[in-house]
Structure formats: C-alpha cells, structure tokens
C-alpha cells in the first residue's frame, strides 16, 4: 500500500529537514558572545522548569494553559508513537490506540486555539500564527485517519487511492509546519528554541521560585562596549529571542507602548530575531512600534542594530519596569537586551538623548544627577542632628538617604522617616556627605563605567563602618545596593523602609493613632515589587494604619509603572500620553482620594499629574502623621 513506504519517508524526511534547520539555528545563536552555561545540569533541569516554573506564568491565562497542555502533549506523544509505528514498523494495536488518543487530544486543543483565534486580541500576531491552528487540525486529523487505516480499523470499502493520497498530503503539510517549520523559523520554532532557552537560561536563579533582576556588569575593557550587532549579545540571549511565541503579553502590559511611545517589547524581540537570522521585518504580523511603519527595518548578524533595525528612540522609551519580563511565558529578558544596546549608544557612540548627557556629566563631576555641590548633600538635615556614622562608628541601621537629599519634595519623605525611626528609638546613623548617588540612573542610561565607579566608591565607604543593615526609602537604591553591588564585592542586608516600618509595627515599637483618610489605593513601585518581590510589607503597613487598600486593576506584580524608571523622564521620548497620567487614571478608576506610594520617584511622577487628582503620600509620611507624639520630658 502507498502508506507503507511513503509514511516512513515522510516522517524521517521531515525529521531530517528539521535537524538541518535546527543546526543552522544553533550555529546562528553560537555566533553570539561566549557565555558559559551548565549544560548537563541545565538539560536535566529543563523538564522541571517547563512543567513547574513556566507553567506558573502560563497559568495566568488558564484557557491557553489547558489548551497548550492538550495540543503540545498530544503532539509530542503522537509524534513519538507515530515514529515507532509508522517509522520503524512496530505493529501493536495498543500503540495504534495510543496514537489515536493523542491525535484526538491534539485535535481538541487545536480546536480551542482555532476558537480563540476567530477574533484575536490585538496583542496576538497574525500571519503564520493564524495558519498554525489549521496546520494543527490538519496534522491531527490526518494522523488519526491514517492510523485507523493502517491498523485496518477502517471500513475497507472506504479506503481508496484518492482518499489515502489526500490523507498523506494532509500529513505532509502538517509535518512541514510542525517539524520542518520548527527548524526553519516557523511558529513551531518556539518549541525547540523555548526548550533549550529554559535549559540554558542566562538567569537560572529565576527558576524554582527565585529571582534574578540585577543587571550584569559590563567588562569595561571589551573591544565594543555593550551590544552593537546581534552577535554582540551572549549566545543564550539570542537563543532566548528565538523562543518568543509572539503572544503579546509583554505588549499588553508595556506602559511605554500604552502611552504611544515608539516601543513594543514584542516587536523588539522579533526585530532581534530578524537581526540574528538576517532579513527584514516584513514577515512580522503583530502591532508595530507606535508611530512607526512595519516593513522598513533591515538587519543581519553583523550589522549595527541601531543603524536600520531598531531606532534608538525605541530603546530609550523603556522605563525598565520589567512588566514585560514578569509576564513573558518564555522567560525572555527584554530589559537586559535594551540596556545592553543602550550601553553601546552611550559608551561607544556618545548618543544619550535628551537631558541624559547632562545627568551623566553631572554624575561624573559631582556624584549627583543635578550637578549640585556635593558638599551640600547633607544640608537637608541641618536641623535634624542626625548621627553621622563616621562619628559614632557603628549602628544597627545605616539609613541610606539617596539623591532625595537634594530634592525638596523627597526631603519631606526623608524627614517623615526620620520621625518614625526616632519614635521607635531606632539606633541609626547616616553617611552624610560621604554618600554618593547609587548609580542606578547611570547604569540604566547605559553608562556602566560611571555606575561601577559610584558602586566601588560607595562600597569602599560602607566598608569602613559596622552596621547590621541598610534601610532606604528609595527602591532604586534598594535594588542596586541589594542586587547589583554584589558583583563588586558589596554584600549587605538591605531593607526598604516599608519592610522596616512593618517590622517596627509587628514588634509594637510604634504608638499610632490612625487618621481617617478616605479611599486609599497603593501603587507598587516596580523596583520594590517586580524587582524585589516586596508586595506584602507596604500593604501590611497600610492595614496597620487602619487603611483598607482599594486595589487598582493593575497592582502587585502587574502594577503599571509610574513612568519614572530607567532614566525615562530624563531621555523623555515623546508619546501620545504620559505614563504618569495613565497611572493616576488607574487610581481614579477605583475612586481613590489618596495614592499611597513607597518611592520618591513615583511621588515626583504622580504629583506631576495636573490637579484635580488624588493626593500622593509616601508610606513614611502616612505613618509619621499617625504617630502619637508624647510630650518630651
């Protein structure tokens, strides 16, 4: 019969083509910078990462999670069994029965996908991705019927040349999509690249419930600083780009995209794919960068990315809020890629946009972004008589002031926090003028040299004193001190003031008389929440103050950025809306009268929204207002 000899040819032929394509793909990734990975351990960990860690993220969309289990599980099982039965000629009715079951499961999954794609939301890509459910249906149906036929479970009269010919064509089409497409860049590429990406992820700490959010240090003696060409990425970053399924979840949460700035994280990743494989973005069928046409971008592995593939504006629009990374089911690291390319723009080209140049020059010359007199950093506390650690030598808490010292609004937060610490008799001290900018902004503007200089300086200063922990009201400094100074030898126990105040409250150290505040919502700062997983302490502080938080639709790990991170207010790439306005609209939607914040940058951004709007209060201010002040003896 026709099927007897044609089936093995089809199966093995498709497999061979897939392997050739896959090899080419692997070589394209390996053109990237070397980055050592634990090969065996990674491969061993892969199934667990897939079934547990990845499932956690995918599970946020239950429908698609279940659909994927049916389709992918059905496909893998059906293919493996079909290879045994049709490829190697193992004749077993049990195996045949299992093929039928798997193909049926796959069919059901494919039907659900097709259903979902009748009228797909804007975040989903079209083009080949619209074809995929059809291919899945054709493949599963053909395999099902062919198996019935070869197992002689079919009414004999129905089997004819034409019919079996049609089935074989169907199967061939299905195999072309599923196997050949996997190796040669079709939608199914995600299965093969995705699996390897999980195995060789650049941040293995993210699996097993961990977190890894600090940027990687740049080697300042590299021949090109940062990423100019696709091959300047680490090879496993390139692999990661190829894992993208174009689900657009990143696009849906990106504040810059929503504000109409020329950034779409999904398109960015797809452009990286264009860069690593060579070609144009004409084959992209998703949403564009707002305000930019699709089809004009060109790239190849050896071409400088910002010269024709991705515009610099796109890279500077990002607030580094990490919403995309948090949401991506394929665990792709958009922020790393964006900062890598910014490093090239700043450190090789000298093309930091907007006020970025001024800010970096100021940081270089005065260790603060405003270019203010470094000898006046500590002036804000002239009347507070704060203990300098240089005088007292050691303390339980080292209070890290941050650049808020130079900003009048932030000083109110700092003073409020001092009042809280004094009320609880905390043993604390400060660095005074010896403290420098943490380096957060310099690093995110791509100037890793300045970041590293500031980090080393601060680490050296901190190393002179004895303290148990660092507490700061600035989540950016918190992140940098806790997660990025380690690479330079600075290891500290760092707490954000929300965590610290919460501890004081739990220990009953604060005598509080909460005031009525009306409806209050809480805005999670990106660098506290997504970067450091701290969602609970601020909420518990608020509830101790007797506040019932009216949660915004986007809160917790899905919190929308205020627009203030990553140097975005400095580079100031124009869009249609302002991100801060959109965030205040979120608060208006829950009729909040007060937005509780936990970051001076968020305060500045949200207070920049025109009135009438909810009032903005930092946690420290709310707590200090509720303090019962005893008459001093």
């Amino acid at each position: 019969m026709l099927t007897d000899w044609l089936l093995p040819i089809l199966l093995f032929g498709a497999l061979a083509l897939m392997l050739i394509g896959a090899t080419r793909r692997v070589l394209a990734w390996r053109a990237g910078r070397n980055e050592p990975v634990a090969v065996v351990a990674g491969l061993m960990a892969m199934p667990r990462r897939y079934l547990v860690d990845l499932h956690h993220v995918v599970q946020r969309d239950r429908f698609i999670a279940n659909t994927h289990v049916a389709t992918a599980g059905g496909f893998v099982a059906a293919l493996a069994l079909a290879l045994l039965v049709h490829g190697f000629g193992v004749d077993s009715s049990i195996l045949n029965g299992l093929i039928l079951l798997s193909a049926a499961g796959m069919f059901v999954g494919a039907c659900c996908i097709a259903w979902r794609r009748r009228n797909p939301p804007g975040r989903l890509s079209r083009g080949p991705w619209m074809r995929l459910p059809k291919s899945l249906l054709v493949f599963s149906t053909s395999l099902f019927l062919i198996t019935l036929m070869t197992a002689d479970w079919f009414p004999a009269g129905l089997v004819g040349w034409v019919f079996s010919g049609l089935l074989l064509i169907g199967l061939a089409l299905g195999l072309a999509e599923m196997l050949v497409g996997m190796g040669w860049g079709g939608p199914m590429k995600h299965a093969f690249a995705g699996a390897l990406h999980l195995a060789f992820h650049r941040r293995p700490q993210r699996f097993g419930g961990g977190r890894s959010t600090g940027l990687k240090p740049l080697n300042l003696t590299d021949s090109t600083l940062g990423v100019a060409k696709p091959t300047d990425f680490a090879w496993n970053q390139l692999l990661g780009f190829d894992a993208c399924v174009q689900c657009g979840r990143c696009e849906a949460v990106c504040p810059a995209f929503a504000a109409g700035q020329p950034l779409n994280p999904k398109k960015l990743i797809q452009d990286m794919v264009v860069g690593l494989s060579g070609g144009t973005d004409a084959g992209y069928h998703g949403s564009a960068y707002p305000g930019k046409p699709v089809g004009e971008a060109k790239g190849n592995p050896g071409q400088v990315i910002v010269d024709g593939l991705v515009s610099a504006e796109t890279l500077w629009s990002c607030t580094t809020c990490r919403a995309c990374v948090e949401e991506c089911p394929m665990m792709i690291e958009h922020v790393d890629a964006i900062v890598d390319m910014r490093r090239f723009l700043t450190q090789e080209r000298g093309e930091t946009p907007g006020a970025g140049v001024q800010v970096l020059d100021n940081l270089i010359a005065t260790d603060n972004p405003g270019g203010l007199d470094p000898a006046r950093r500590f002036d804000w506390a002239a009347d507070l008589e704060l203990p300098l650690i240089a005088d007292v030598g050691k303390a339980d808490v080292l209070f890290w002031i941050s650049d808020g010292a130079f900003d009048q609004r932030s000083q109110r937060i700092l003073r409020a926090f001092v009042a809280v610490m004094r009320a609880a008799n905390v043993d604390f001290a400060v660095l005074g003028n010896d403290e420098c900018d943490s380096g957060d902004v310099a690093r995110r503007l791509g100037d890793d040299a300045t970041f590293q200089r500031l980090a080393r300086h601060n680490i050296e200063v901190l190393g002179r004193y004895e303290f148990n922990r660092i507490v700061t009201t600035d989540p950016h400094a918190f992140h940098v001190l806790a997660n990025e100074y380690g690479d330079f030898g600075g290891h500290y126990r760092v707490q954000h003031h929300s965590m610290f105040i919460n501890e004081l409250m739990e220990q009953g150290q604060l005598n509080l008389q909460p005031k009525a505040l009306g409806r209050v919502t809480y805005h999670d700062p990106c660098y506290l929440g997504r970067y450091n997983g701290e969602y609970e302490s601020p909420r518990s502080v608020l509830s101790t103050l007797g506040i019932e938080v009216q949660e915004m639709t986007r809160s917790g790990y899905r919190s929308r950025c205020c627009g203030g991170g990553g140097g975005a207010p400095i580079t100031d790439i124009p869009g249609e809306y302002r991100i801060a306005d959109m965030r205040v609209d979120d608060a208006r939607a829950v009729e909040a009268e007060t937005i509780a914040v936990a970051c001076q940058q968020c305060t500045a951004m949200l207070e920049g929204v025109v009135e009438p709007r909810p009032q903005i209060k930092d946690l420290a201010e709310l707590v200090s207002e509720a303090l019962v002040t005893e008459a001093r003896a």
């Binding site: 300042l220 700043t346 450190q347 080209r349 093309e351 270089i364 010359a365 270019g371 007199d373 300045t450």
Partner: protein, 268 residues
C-alpha cells in the same frame, strides 16, 4: 564608532586644524574634567574638516581627565610634557609653528590655574598670526580666507574675514561639545613628547590664594509699593542706542522693528 559630525560648514578640502585643550575644573566639586570652552573648540574643530583635528595639551600625559576629549571621537592627543610651573606659550608656539596648520582653536580662558585668557593672544603673537577672539562658528573657508562669526554681547554676531592661518578662541555661545563616550576615551592614545619649556619666572614670584566672591552693593530702591521695589531691583540696565516705542499704531511699531533688524543686518 562616532556618528558623522554635525557640521554644516565643512570645508571642501581637508583643513589642518588643531585644538588646544586644558584640564578643566568643575566649579562646585573642583574635580578635574574636560574644560567646557576647550571642548567647544574641539567640537568646532570636528565640524570643520573631514580630517580629524589634532589635540594639543601642555602638561602631564598621565592626567586621565584628558581622556574625555578623546571620547569625542578622536584617536590621539599630543601632550607636550611639562611641569606645572612652566609657561605654556613658548612651548606651544614652537610646536605649532612646525605643524603647517590652518587654524588653531582654543577656549577663551582656562577653568583653573592662571585663567587670564591671555594664552591665545600670546601664542598668536609669537606665531605672528592673526587672533580672533570669541568666535562661535566658521561660516566658510575658501581662497586662503575664512569667514567666521564672532560673538558680541546680547546674542549679536559679527562676521569677520580672516586670512589663514589664524588663532581663534571659541566663545561659550558656540555649539556645545558632544558627549564624551567612555569606550573611545579609553582606547584613544595620549602621546607625550618633551618640550623645551621654561619655568614661568613672573608667576613664580606671585602669591596665590583662593578667590573670594566680593559682595556687590545693591542699588536699594526705597519707598513705593512692593511691586515697584521688585521692579527696580530686577530691572535690566538700560542699553544704549535703543528706543522705547509706546506711541503709534501696530504697523508703525512693526516698521520700526523691521528697520532696526535691517540696520543690524539680521534681515536683509
């Protein structure tokens, strides 16, 4: 790796241009840096010729803050090795005289040290070249002459025609210097060569102490309402040659303004 220069006035043939650069000092932190005016001179030099200008410094080749000039996209900086106490003028003049240059650019005055602003004059004098102080741009270079714009107070400009070669100091109103990029700054080379520099005898006898800002006497306006006193305190000194027109129709006022603009050469 740097983008093409932002020049609008690139000369047709390659010009040989040198920029004299000094070690600057940040006014608040006192930290060494690239001097702002000298950096503007380098920026202007970069815009004038497809050939990279040469950078020249008298002092120590070990000063890392000089690298910030290289970060503007230059490969090389030449240091005439000299101690702190030497007079830079003869060293510069004898070196520049050997180089067959067309234009030498500098800042108006240094950010630290003597900072008298005399160096460009003294160098030009020793070379026997013309000196044009405070230029903001070079409009054209042709037939052995350059047309330059000189900055005058209140944003006015004066067009001057200067024969090559000449020395010019660059006004702070000129195009700001481009960002200095860390990579090229680190990779550029700093070559030093000895120079026959004499200690500055005159300066050796000076006594130096930090400048103190002298209090300025304010013309205090007494009496009147608060608004009037405010106005008196913030009023600009009256310029000469101006005219305040309060009478007449809008058309007459507009014509007066136009006549003035034509007279100043802003409108032709």
């Amino acid at each position: 790796m740097l983008p093409e220069s932002r020049s609008k006035t690139m000369a047709s043939q390659a010009m040989k241009i040198a920029a004299l650069v000094s070690v600057g000092q940040h006014p608040l932190s006192r930290r060494e840096r690239r001097a702002d005016q000298d950096a503007r001179a380098v920026e202007l030099a970069l815009s004038l010729s497809p050939e990279l200008p040469s950078l020249i410094h008298v002092g120590s080749a070990r000063n890392e803050s000089l690298r910030a000039y290289l970060g503007m996209g230059l490969n090389n900086l030449k240091v005439l090795n000299a101690d702190q106490d030497v007079d830079a003028v003869p060293a510069l003049a004898s070196y520049l005289g050997e180089q067959a240059l067309d234009i030498v650019l500098t800042g108006v005055r240094a950010e630290c040290g003597e900072g008298s602003g005399l160096l460009p004059y003294a160098v030009a004098d020793q070379l026997g070249w013309p000196i044009v102080p405070r230029i903001v741009s070079v409009v054209s270079i042709a037939g052995g002459y350059a047309e330059v714009w000189q900055a005058l107070p209140r944003g006015q400009r004066r067009a001057l025609r200067v024969p090559l070669p000449f020395v010019a100091s660059v006004d702070p109103a000129a195009e700001p210097a481009r960002q200095s990029a860390f990579g090229p700054a680190q990779r550029g080379s700093i070559d030093s060569r000895p120079c026959a520099a004499e200690p500055d005898q005159a300066r050796a006898n000076w006594q130096q102490h930090p400048a103190k800002p002298r209090p300025k006497r304010l013309a205090v306006a007494k009496g009147g309402t608060a608004a009037e006193r405010m106005k008196a305190a913030t009023a600009k000194p009256q310029g000469q040659g101006g005219q305040v027109i309060t009478e007449g129709t809008d058309r007459e006022k507009a014509e007066a303004i136009l006549a003035r603009l034509v007279a100043e050469g802003v409108v032709r």
